[in-house]
Symmetry: C2
Subunit: 172 residues, 2 copies
DNA sequence: TATTGTTATACTCTATAACTATA
DNA sequence: TATAGTTATAGAGTATAACAATA
């Protein structure tokens, strides 16, 4: 029995939005775990010939998403990790010829990280595998719901990303 | 230029649903990272007096979500990790008196893990902090969008969880 | 014999600190 | 002096294998 309902004006009383959100948090967590470190992504990586280097795969995905070569720092920001971690993942990827380092024309301190042909092909296979799996999961959904989910989820994630950046800034 | 558009019959041509999904994947990943291991959850844990034990916090959240004592194996399943990991996190939590082990009346091999009063209070503060932050992020959204997001996200996550369980089963 | 959990061990992920080179 | 990146090191997160106790 709710303790904080000073009035109940109508049958369609809008419930506390926090209740739905509370239920959503663990689900976001599980979803994130599934996309970041479950057997599904393990399989996808295997299918793409990427071994079991989750973090290095993340770098390739970040490069794919950006659609252009990125500096170490940019990759670190997008992945929400610190620089040295990316330095090492990139070294691993470079040893496997999945990425190249090219000089940044605007700054001699930095290098741009660019996927090789093999890297591009691998990340494409990786994403195609994941995409197929999630498409199957949504196959029975009404188109409207599917569209809404993708649209709202994108907006939500972008809002959250923006606010997290503010949080980090204010920490400095 | 798209290479796979055999026809363009109308302005509102429904685009390939995979395109939106492709854009959604990295966002799910970022969202998951924010909820599972960013500075936000670090702050929330600090605010709740839970130190920096992300994984142990996860156990407390799992217990809170379940609303009842859970066995080690059940916690591991819900968190998508293996048993020994949970054994250790629970040992840490027990040392801090944040959980208790009680015998499982139905099976002498197992024990049920139950949050202590301190553990319950801590996880409540933790979730309240997170919930407040996410509520703020959604504060400017139209109520309809907010409701849709929460509803569709929950359904999606549950679908995915079900399908992941099938994946694990078929691996055995 | 199968299942629940624990112990022991090792590998991956990620952060902090100290440093180098360029701006 | 500030910024981009690297090296070195340490700690958290997580898995696998071998085992114990109970079903």
């Amino acid at each position: 029995m709710p303790t904080d309902s000073p009035e109940s004006p109508e049958a369609h009383e809008p419930e506390d939005p926090r209740l739905g959100l509370l239920a959503a948090l663990p689900r976001i967590s599980r979803l994130g775990a599934a996309v970041n470190r479950g057997r599904l992504v393990e399989r996808a990586a295997e299918h793409a010939g990427l071994g079991r280097d989750r973090s290095a795969v993340g770098v390739l995905v970040a490069l794919h998403t950006a659609g252009k070569p990125l500096r170490i720092g940019e990759i670190a920001d997008r992945m929400q990790v610190v620089g040295p971690h990316i330095t090492r993942q990139v070294q691993i990827l470079e040893k496997r010829d999945l990425v190249h380092r090219i000089p940044d024309p605007h700054d001699a301190r930095a290098r741009l990280i660019e996927p090789s042909d093999a890297g591009t092909e691998a990340v494409n296979r990786y994403l195609a595998f994941l995409l197929g799996w999630f498409s199957d999961a949504l196959a029975d959904w009404p188109r409207q719901d599917r569209d809404d989910l993708v649209r709202l989820l994108a907006r939500f994630a972008d809002d959250v990303t923006t606010r997290l950046a503010l949080l980090d800034d204010e920490e400095t």
